[in-house]
Symmetry: C2
Subunit: 409 residues, 2 copies
C-alpha cells in the first residue's frame, strides 16, 4: 500500500471542487464530488432519531441501490430541524446539482446531499444554488481542487482531513481517497462528522456496504470527542470502477488487499477528526488486547476515551489508572479486573501502572515524562481471550468548555 | 408529610457518630450509624464490574437477608483495587465495629461497611480501628452527632446532604431520614455516591428492597454529574421498627404514605448530590412529559443531563435547544421529534424554544434572563403518550476540568 499526496481526486474518474457562496461568513462552504460514470454507493448514517433532511434523502438513495453520480456538500447550515421546507431544500440541492452537471433535474436521485452547520435555520437556497453552479464550473482533478473540496466541508475544524492510498488489485493500480470533517463529535449547531471516500475500484454496492459496515465499527465508531452523536453524521463511499482492475470478489487476495487499504483510509480520517477535537491538547489511543471477544474489547476501549473523568485526568497529565479501570468497569464489556495489566506509553517512555489488577508503585516523574507528550497510548493487557480493539479520543480541556459554552451565540 | 431538622438520628432507635481518625488529612473521616435493635436492611449497589471490597461485603450480607445492627463508613480511602488485603480489611472493619459495639467479633456479618475516597491504596487499618473505637464512644442522637456523621462521609463535597421527614402510619408517627455524599463521578447506576436511609418504621426486608429498587430508578439513577459510574456506589436502607407503627403491608394506605415519603427522601438526597456537583454553577432539572412509556421518558430525560455539549451550553447560558433535542435523539428512548415542544424555565421566566419540533423565534434577552439563574428547568412536552420522568444534573464548567485534572496528585 502506497500513500498518495493527491487528496480526494486521486482515484481515476472523479473531479472535485470547493467554493464560497455565502452560507458561512467568509470561508468556503460548498463542495462537489463528481464521478464521470455511475458509481456504486454505500452509506453509514447517524443513529440519532432526530435526523437532518439530507440524511433521510441519502438513506433513501442508498437503500434504493441505484448508482450515484455526485455528492453535494454544504457547510454553515445543517438543514436539520427545518421541517418540510428542509426536505424540499435537500431535494432541491440534488436537482440543482443534476442540472448544473447537465444530467437533467429528473436525475436528482443520482445525487447525494450532505449538510453541516447550524441547526434549525432554513437553508439560504439562493446562495446554495449559486454555490452549486459555481462549484460545477470549477470541477477538476488537480491538487487545488481536492484541497478546496476538503476545505469547503469544514466547520469549526482547524485543519483539513485527507487521506489517499494506492494498492494493486490483480496487478492493476487502484486508488482509495477520502476527506472528512468534524471537530466536536456532534454539534447540533455546527453539526457533525462527515466523511467521503471515493475509489476507482470496481465494487458492487452490496459488497461496498458490507466493507463499509465492517470498517465503520473499527474507525468512526471507535472515536469520541465528547460522547454526543449528531443529527447529521454521515459516511458515504462511491466506487466507480474507473481503474481497469477486475471487479472485487469475496474471499480473494484482491479483497483482502482492498479491505485493508479501505480500513486504513477510514481509520486515518477518524483519527484526524479526533486530533482536531475541540479544545483538545492531547491525542489518546486506547489499545485493549487479550479480551474475550472483539465486542468486549471495543466496548472497553471506547468507554475509556469517552469518560469525562479520564479525559480531564489526561488534560491534567495525571496517571489516574483508577478512572481508566473504572470506565472499563461500567462499559458493558466483560473483563476480569484481577488479571488486567495497564500501561501508559508515549515518546516519553512507558510506565506500568497496574499489574494483575493491583496498582504498581511507579515514579510520578516517569509518569509525567510519558503524559506531558501530545500523543499517548493507554495499553490494556487482559487475560480473558485473544480479541483486541483500539479507540481514539482526546482530553477534556478548559478550551472545550469555552468553545461549547458560547458556540451558538 | 412533615420535614424535620433532626438529621439522620431523627428515627427512633438509631444513634450516629462522626470522627476524625487520620485517613484524611484534617477532616472527619469515619462515621457510624447504629440501630439499638436488629434492623431489616436493603441495598442498591454500583453495576460497575470493578467493585470495591466493601461493596462485595455488603452485597453478601444483603443477599443473605439477616438483620443488620450498624453501618460503618470511612471517607478518604475507597478500599477499591486493593486485592485480597482489601477484602480482609473490609471484613476487619466490620469485626472491629462489632467489637466496639460490644456485640462480639463473630457478629461481623451484622455490620455493613462503606468506603469512599482514593482508589488503589491499602487502608490505613490502625487509624481506621482507632476511628471505629472513637466513633463508638461518641454515639448519640443529638443534632451534633447527626451532623458529625453527615460530615464524616464527605470527600470533595462542599456541604452535607441530609433529609429527614415524618409521616403517620395508622396514626402513629414514623420517621425516615438519610444522609448522602458524592460530588464527582455521579451518574445513573450510581457513582461514588453513598447514601444511607434509616427509618423506625417496621418493614420486612423484601418489601424494603422492593421500595428501594423502585425509588432508586427515579432518584439516584436519574442524576448525573459527569457520566461516570464508580466502583463504590452504594445506597443502604435500615428499617428497625422502633416506632410503634404496625408492620408495613402492600396495597394499604400506610404503604402509599410510606412509599411517598421514602421516595421524597431519596430524591432530595440525589438532588443534593447534584447541587454539589464538582465545579457546578447551575442546577438543571429536565422534566419530560407525554412520553410513550416511563422507560422512554427516563432515557430521554437522563440523556439530556448527561450530554457534555448540553452541560457546556448551560454553563455558557446559551439557549441551545438543538443540543437538547439531539441528546434526546441518541438516548435510545423513543419520541416523535415532529410533535415535541421544548421550554426553558427558571425564576427569570419561561421561554418556548421549540414547538411541534420546529424552532420558535425567541428573544435572546428573554432567554438570558431565564438562563442566568442558578436553577433551571428544561420542560419537554411530547405527544407520544402519558408517561413522564425527571432527571437532575449540573453544568460543565472550567472548574470541573480544573478539579478533575488534578484530583489524584
Amino acid at each position: 500500500m502506497k500513500q498518495l499526496d493527491g487528496g480526494i481526486t486521486a482515484p481515476a474518474g472523479f473531479t472535485a471542487a470547493g467554493v464560497f457562496c455565502g452560507i458561512k461568513k467568509r470561508k468556503k462552504d460548498l463542495a462537489l464530488l463528481v464521478s464521470d460514470r455511475p458509481a456504486a454507493a454505500a452509506g453509514a448514517f447517524t443513529r440519532n432519531i432526530v435526523q437532518a433532511a439530507p440524511v433521510k434523502w441519502d438513506q433513501n438513495i442508498i437503500e434504493a441501490g441505484d448508482p450515484v453520480l455526485a455528492v453535494v456538500i454544504n457547510s454553515g447550515n445543517a438543514n436539520a430541524c427545518t421541517g418540510p421546507q428542509g426536505t424540499a431544500d435537500a431535494e432541491s440541492m440534488a436537482a440543482e446539482t443534476a442540472e448544473a452537471l447537465h444530467i437533467g433535474r429528473d436525475q436528482a436521485n443520482r445525487i447525494l446531499v450532505c449538510s453541516t452547520g447550524v441547526i434549525g435555520v432554513p437553508m439560504p437556497m439562493d446562495r446554495v444554488r449559486e454555490g452549486i453552479r459555481s462549484a460545477a464550473a470549477h470541477l477538476g482533478t488537480g491538487r487545488s481542487c481536492a484541497e478546496a473540496a476538503a476545505r469547503a466541508i469544514l466547520t469549526t475544524d482547524t485543519f483539513t482531513k485527507e487521506c489517499a492510498v494506492e494498492v494493486e488489485l490483480s496487478g492493476v493500480p487502484v486508488r482509495i481517497a477520502g476527506i472528512a470533517k468534524g471537530s466536536g463529535m456532534i454539534h447540533p449547531n455546527m453539526a457533525t462528522m462527515l466523511s467521503f471516500v471515493l475509489t476507482d475500484a470496481a465494487v458492487d454496492r452490496q459488497l461496498l456496504q458490507e466493507l463499509l459496515h465492517e470498517s465503520v465499527e473499527e474507525s468512526y465508531n471507535m472515536v469520541s470527542v465528547d460522547g454526543d452523536t449528531s443529527t447529521n453524521d454521515t459516511v458515504l463511499v462511491l466506487a466507480n470502477g474507473a481503474s481497469s482492475a477486475p471487479k472485487l470478489a469475496r474471499n480473494t487476495e484482491d479483497y483482502r488487499i482492498f479491505s485493508e487499504a479501505f480500513r486504513f483510509v477510514n481509520a486515518a480520517l477518524a483519527k484526524a477528526v479526533v486530533r482536531d477535537g475541540e479544545g483538545a491538547t492531547k491525542f489518546i489511543e486506547v489499545a485493549v488486547s487479550g479480551a474475550a471477544t472483539t465486542e468486549d474489547a471495543r466496548k472497553l476501549a471506547k468507554s475509556v476515551v469517552t469518560s469525562s473523568l479520564v479525559k480531564a485526568a489526561f488534560f491534567g497529565e495525571d496517571a489516574n489508572w483508577g478512572r481508566i479501570l473504572c470506565a472499563m468497569g461500567y462499559s458493558g464489556g466483560y473483563f476480569d479486573p484481577d488479571t488486567a495489566d495497564l500501561y501508559v506509553s508515549s515518546p516519553g517512555g512507558t510506565v506500568l501502572l497496574l499489574q494483575a489488577g493491583a496498582p504498581v508503585p511507579f515514579s510520578e516523574d516517569d509518569a509525567l515524562q510519558v503524559l506531558k507528550e501530545h500523543d499517548i497510548i493507554v495499553k490494556v493487557q487482559l487475560r480473558d481471550g485473544s480479541s483486541s480493539a483500539r479507540s481514539w479520543g482526546c482530553d477534556l480541556s478548559h478550551e472545550y468548555v469555552t468553545i461549547n459554552g458560547s458556540y451558538r451565540t
